[in-house]
């Protein structure tokens, strides 16, 4: 971890976003994770994405479970409230938070131990309820805080630091999310900021449940030869199928695309997502096709990254429950209490 105090002085020429804030306004405390930890790159990508989206920093709610990944909400968006819940139970806390105040942008950060083992039940159920949030798993295949046990996302045969192979089949959270109905599913790599930042922006703007599985190597326990979650392995085996470029509502399209190479997906807030197919046969709107593709790629030892699935007409839990537009948390007696007159009628019904 770093012992250097964060400088208080800002560079005077840091660029300002549309609401007059710079990148530093979206930062948090200094990380206490190991130097080189992939999770810090994910936090950095979150800071950049949120700053570029120009959302006021206090309009986010950050949720996490327990583990290295779950410490990270302390390291970005220092002006928003965060909630470090109990192990594996972030999804339920996020569900409650989102139901209470639908006007906040909800970011959940979890790990592979948190979401694929102790919290796999809660993970499955938040997906099917379509809670409107961005759910990131910092996936390193290992339990860092307890010093290097295999997690459930670790590939069979991948070895520990001492060379012992993992004997059990891996759980792929991306396939699970696709299977249960997530509206936005992506996989990325903490070492590929160019891919990750637009995915985070798109995931935040998507209405419904957005899931990004980020391969985020553990430099302390799972970055050696023989590990399939190391920087080197991920770099050499990652294959991006669909690149996503996020375009905010008023932004001009500057990227130069060849004809037929891109597809525009309109987001609820007027922003657009430009999808570029890097793999000709891949259709990011075909849930079943995506699952098949992922399974074949896994057999071939390939790590598929990019935007794997997006439902252009996303729905969320509030729409399913048909709740009022006003956040439930701000309703008071006038809106909520039916009063004695109504109670008289209720009493009569019990006579």
């Amino acid at each position: 971890m770093t012992f250097v105090a964060k400088p208080e002085v800002h560079h005077p020429q840091l660029p300002l976003n549309e609401i007059g804030l710079n990148r530093r306004d979206y930062e948090g405390l200094v990380s206490t994770l190991c130097a080189g930890c992939g999770h810090d790159s994910v936090s950095a990508a979150l800071i950049q994405a949120c700053a570029e989206l120009a959302i006021p920093p206090h309009r986010f709610a950050k949720l996490s479970g327990i583990g290295c990944s779950s410490k990270t909400p302390n390291y970005f968006l220092g002006n928003s409230h965060g909630f470090n819940a109990v192990h594996g139970r972030m999804p339920s806390v996020a569900t409650g938070a989102n139901l209470a105040n639908r006007s906040l942008y909800c970011i959940g950060v979890s790990g592979d131990g948190d979401s694929a083992s102790i919290g796999i039940g809660q993970f499955a159920h938040i997906v099917r309820r379509r809670i409107n949030m961005l759910y990131i798993v910092d996936n390193n295949g290992t339990y860092g805080l307890t010093k290097g046990q295999f997690s459930a996302t670790n590939d069979k045969g991948s070895t520990s630091k001492r060379g012992v192979p993992n004997l059990y089949e891996p759980i792929d959270l991306v396939s699970m999310a696709l299977d249960i109905g997530a509206g936005f599913v992506a996989r990325s790599f903490s070492g590929d900021k160019g891919q990750l930042v637009p995915l985070i922006k798109a995931g935040l703007m998507h209405r419904g449940f957005s899931f990004i599985d980020v391969i985020s190597p553990c430099v302390a326990f799972n970055n050696h030869n023989g590990s399939t979650k190391s920087y080197e392995f991920t770099r050499s085996h990652a294959a991006s199928v669909v690149a996503a470029d996020f375009v905010s509502p008023h932004e001009e399209i500057t990227a130069d695309y060849g004809p037929g190479e891109r597809e525009v997906v309109e987001m609820p807030d007027g922003s657009r997502l430009h999808l570029r197919k890097l793999e000709e046969d891949y259709d990011p709107h075909d849930r079943a096709g995506a699952l098949t593709y992922l399974q074949q790629a896994a057999l071939d030892g390939e790590v598929v990254t990019g935007l794997l699935y997006v439902d252009s007409d996303g729905t969320d839990c509030h729409e399913i429950l048909d709740t009022v537009d006003t956040p439930l948390s701000v309703l008071g007696e006038v809106e909520l209490c039916p009063g004695q007159a109504a109670l008289d009628g209720i009493n009569a019904g019990f006579r």
Binding site: P56, P57, H58, A61, L63, P73, N74, N79, S80, H81, G82, F83, N84, A85, V86, R89, P91, S92, V93, A94, T95, G96, A97, N98, L99, A100, N101, S103, L104, G121, Q122, A124, H125, R129, C317, L321, D322, T323, V324, D325, P327, L328, S329, V330, L331, G332, E333, E335, L336, C337, P338, G339, Q340, A342, L343, D344, I346, N347, F350, R351
Partner: protein, 613 residues
């Protein structure tokens, strides 16, 4: 000699035979005649086939507890016939279906047999097998109307109301009632010496179960989020919340809902949703029973330590483990009081009546917000799932929700030094901020790990112990806010303490005991942590009976641990077989204690002043 409005009638049925609605109709008919009644549904954990009983007690004196012995048994279940015959009081009545002749097991010469050929009567009237099965129940209700002298118009009126919109069912139901009534009138000695008679003893009271009353309380208290996992006997509370909210909480213009109900994947998720919602500013609750409370324990520790309001209704059933899921007990007192690892304590509320379930639901939300901690309402199956008489539910329209110490954006603008866990007011309660309130002030990281007054992570001993000690200060504040015990007369040297549904048979038990020469001062405990009055009451008496429905005397333990009570002064009166405690049981145990210890029964303090120890 004819007695009026004073009998226990028990229906012995087969689960799934459609008896519940017929038996409910019978009870409601008495209620509509103004007869004070209480009902007890003694049902199996089963969909179809196992025995089930429904008991109605009419009591002109207004005794609503269960009473031992059955005056009239409606024995409709061949499987339980033996035991059903056995519990009829000498001189009582047994109504049975004699279509197949006299059951040889009917071996009680001291019981009056009332044979009605129910199956034969039904077969000759109806051809549809399903109707034959259902209308057997209606036929015996018709016969009972004649036997007990119940206004027939009241019952037929109820049939018309119940099946409004399904008019084709009204005629056949009324016909079945008439068949039963006519048979009784033509072939039986009718009416019996135990009878119903119109009364004005009910006044404006209503008949409601505690779960529905509690759900309405949650609606009135402004709960917007209910997260729950199905478990008997709490399920009907969440379902009642959803049912009433769907009517009472709809935006007039858009039709959209001002509430959200989530049937969670398990109890851990249910309480997690509640905690997340409360953290983000909404009033939220869950309803569960013992096994669910066990599963929620980790989260309850988080909410205690991170200081997040939450409301939990525990509708207790028989434990440990799966226990008896459809029987009643007060077995979760200690588990609820100390739920979770580490030093944790949670305030508890103990409603005794449906009206109090409504009131305490509202109290619980105010206390949770004020104290920033989980509040557990300890109801039980007896209260939650049985319809009983209750004063009408009332709400003071002037009442405002107490949302506790929550800082607004303007508040934060004027505060220089904000620390979430600072004890600014000396009551142990810090100031909360809600997510999204202020662009640059008041944000903090909520966590279950140790932190200082500014919510900053620390593993240092001093800030940790300071925080834990502040939580004790808050606990003392809680003691001053909890509902006070209800204390009866203060004239005797011996007292009796009870809580929740052990209060139900108490008036009757005290009446019997007075006849036996035993007079006791009474204290109904309504909340934990105990207000000072609880310890004062114990101090002021030579000894105090503590009546509860569990094996280990859990409230007694809590009184010793938390009210400083001398264990030697607390005498347990326990009943834990799964059926609610009766006045007879209380009376027997207390008399036994006096006799075995050679104590003088009259314990009145001379001069009318309680002796203080």
């Amino acid at each position: 000699m004819t007695t009026y409005n004073d009998f226990v009638i028990r229906f012995a049925n087969v689960n799934g035979s459609g008896s519940a609605s017929a038996n409910g109709m019978f009870a409601k008919a008495l209620f509509r005649m103004g007869v004070p009644i209480s009902t007890h549904n003694i049902f199996p954990s089963n969909i179809e086939g196992l025995p089930t009983w429904f008991e109605v007690r009419a009591s002109g004196r207004g005794y609503h507890g269960r009473r031992q012995g059955v005056d009239l048994m409606v024995a409709m279940n061949a499987e339980t016939f033996d035991e059903d015959v056995a519990v009829v009081v000498p001189g009582g009545y047994l109504l049975h279906d004699n279509s197949g002749g006299l059951d040889p097991r009917l071996n009680r010469p001291d019981v009056n047999h009332i044979g009605v050929p129910i199956a034969k009567l039904v077969v000759s009237e109806y051809t549809d097998p399903r109707q034959r099965k259902l209308f057997k129940n209606i036929v015996y209700v018709g016969a009972l109307a004649a036997l007990l002298n119940i206004d027939f118009d009241v019952i037929t009126g109820m049939v018309s109301t119940q099946y409004r919109g399904k008019d084709e069912l009204i005629g056949p139901n009324i016909r079945a009632l008439e068949i039963g009534r006519d048979y009784a009138r033509d072939y039986l000695e009718c009416p019996l010496p135990i009878q119903a008679r119109r009364s004005d003893a009910i006044g404006d009271r209503i008949m409601i179960d505690g779960n529905e009353a509690g759900a309405l309380g949650a609606i009135y208290a402004g709960a917007t989020i209910c997260a729950w996992y199905p478990i008997t006997p709490s399920t009907s509370m969440a379902e009642a919340f959803e049912k009433h909210a769907a009517r009472l909480r709809v935006d007039k213009d858009t039709g959209q809902h001002k509430f959200a109900v989530i049937q969670a994947e398990d109890e851990m998720a249910a309480i997690g949703i509640v905690i997340g919602a409360a953290w983000n500013g909404a009033r939220a609750f869950t309803a569960t029973s013992g096994p669910g409370l066990s599963l929620m324990s980790e989260f309850l520790g988080l909410a205690y330590f991170a200081e997040i309001p939450a409301v939990l209704f525990d509708i207790q059933r028989v434990g440990p483990s799966t226990g008896m899921p459809t029987r009643t007990q007060q077995g979760d007192v200690l588990a609820a009081a100390y739920a979770s690892h580490g030093d944790t304590r949670h305030p508890l509320l103990f409603p005794s009546t449906p009206g109090e379930s409504f009131e305490f639901a509202a109290t619980a939300f105010d206390l949770a917000d004020r104290l920033q901690t989980p509040i557990i309402v300890l109801s039980d199956l007896e209260l939650g799932m049985n319809e009983n008489l209750s004063d009408p539910l009332t709400w003071d329209d002037e009442r405002r929700y107490d949302r506790g110490k929550v800082l607004s954006r303007e508040d934060l603008d004027s505060i220089e030094d904000f620390g979430r866990y600072m004890d600014v007011d000396g009551d142990g309660i810090g100031y909360r901020t809600l997510p999204g309130t202020h662009p640059t002030k008041g944000a903090f990281f909520t966590r279950g790990t140790s932190r200082d007054a500014y919510a900053r992570y620390t593993e240092a001993a001093e800030p940790y112990t300071a925080n834990m000690d502040r939580l004790l200060v808050k606990w003392q504040t809680a003691r001053t806010l909890m509902p006070a015990p209800e204390i009866g007369s203060r004239r005797h040297r011996v007292g009796i303490a009870y809580y929740g549904t052990t209060a139900v048979p108490m008036a009757e038990a005290l009446h019997y005991l007075a006849q036996d020469g035993v007079r006791l001062d009474t204290m109904r405990i309504r909340a934990f942590p105990f207000p000072d009055a609880v310890a004062d009451f114990i101090d002021a008496h030579d000894f105090v009976f503590v009546v509860e429905q569990n094996r280990d005397g859990q409230m007694r333990t809590l009184l010793v641990n938390e009210a400083g009570a001398d264990p030697a002064k607390l005498v347990s009166v326990l009943s834990y077989g799964g059926l609610s405690i009766t006045a007879d049981t209380i009376r027997e145990r207390i008399l036994k204690h006096f006799d075995e210890n050679n104590l003088a029964r009259l314990t009145e303090v001379s001069g009318g002043q309680a002796r203080r120890t």
